[in-house]
């Protein structure tokens, strides 16, 4: 019998219940079942990083996670980055440094950058490029993105002082 699975998880701090087929990726569940369409599908095979989310604090490509695997876990998506007061400093830095053109890669870059700066508040250019190697951008070019990440690191450091 092909029964859908009931999954209970925490997304962006809120308890979420959903029903999915075992074969459905977390990305499909987020976008098509839960209605969180901020995470994007670029390649659906782990290469582009547009679908990046935090899974128990680690970044993963949500196209290569099954929805059923997040039972009892914690997920943060791009929708969980800004606060009701306004954009997150990383988002401001991307905007002000023109680190996006079409923007399809941007949610993935921002979630990945959040994880990087949480774990290494002052990364070198090399560390930034290495960390973000799983995120592809077809239009902006990586220099502006790296500059935005460096700017975001500065903003976050300043806001802590």
């Amino acid at each position: 019998m092909n029964a859908k699975v009931h999954v209970q998880t925490k997304i962006n701090g809120e308890q979420v219940d959903f029903l999915c087929e075992p074969r459905q990726s977390l990305l499909e569940c987020l976008r098509d079942i839960i209605g969180l369409t901020g995470s994007k599908e670029g390649c659906n095979d782990g290469n582009c990083g547009a679908c990046t989310v935090l899974f128990d604090g680690r970044i993963v490509t949500s196209c290569l996670v099954l929805g059923v695997e997040v039972q009892g876990k914690e997920i943060t998506t791009i929708e969980g980055i800004a606060s009701p007061e306004g954009l997150h400093p990383i988002q401001e830095a991307f905007l002000e440094n023109a680190a996006l053109q079409c923007g399809i890669c941007t949610p993935g870059f921002i979630v990945a950058t959040k994880a990087l700066l949480d774990h290494n508040p002052n990364p070198s250019e090399y560390q930034i490029r290495f960390w973000l190697a799983n995120n592809l951008c077809r239009c902006t070019g990586y220099d502006k993105i790296v500059l935005a990440v460096q700017d975001a690191a500065g903003r976050l450091a300043a806001s802590k002082n």
Partner: protein
Amino acid sequence: MKWVDYAQPSTLDDALNLLKKHGDKAGLLAGGTDLLVLLRANAKASDVIVDIKSVPELNQIKFDNNSGLTIGASVPCHEIYNDSNVKKYYPGIIDSASIIGGTQIQGRASLGGNLCNSAPSADAVPGMIAMGVTCKIAGSNGHREIPVEEFCLAPRKNVLKSDELLVSLNYPAPKPNTGARYIRFIPRNEMDIAVVGVGVYVELDNNKFKDVRISLASVAPKPIFVKEAGDAVIGKDVNEDSINIVAQKAKEAATPITDMRGTIEFRKHLCEVLTRRALITAIERAKETI
């Protein structure tokens, strides 16, 4: 991908029972970075995805000074390279675990999955072969243990029977005067498939080679152990000449093909250059352990 069921056994016995029942139609899920891509491309068909990450034996890292390091088959790369014992005693493992895919892939991908996927280019496998790692395999008829160099047979083929799974990888206890290194050549700095990969392990004794083990990836239908390359210099002084002998033997052992990533000649040349470089770093590491 057609309809597939999902099971999440919490004990090894439950996992083995599912394997016995479904055989080849059970798709074992560790990090899924190979499995889900294959299923989605219809390159593999499974009736049930068996998520093995809740089986305790498959999901732990254990270290003991005498018996060595045991890495459960489904432990993801990021847990491996952040482990304090791995950092301290096994830098050669980090060489592989930190270059499989990018940060996101490393949040999921396991070394066991890398071995069981059995790609000729698998980045974790040459290091395991060089370091003399053994695989613990469980099946309905009990356990067996084999050296990693006997595990892979051909692209995507290995010795596992349909009722068996890989439990863990067992790295020998750390010894003084030993060092390991894995390097690969890829056109980008990261996120690509190895054109050639080389794993090296050395044990030194008063500036002589006591043990040298070389393994190559992407130059044959499976990662290979080039025993003769290391054996050629056992007892010899550690110097440029002996390092060149090992590199030359590695080049001679390679039987690569020409494809879009590189020609036969280029790959053979890479075997020599990368073996030399990897050996030099492994020697430096061995000297640091004194």
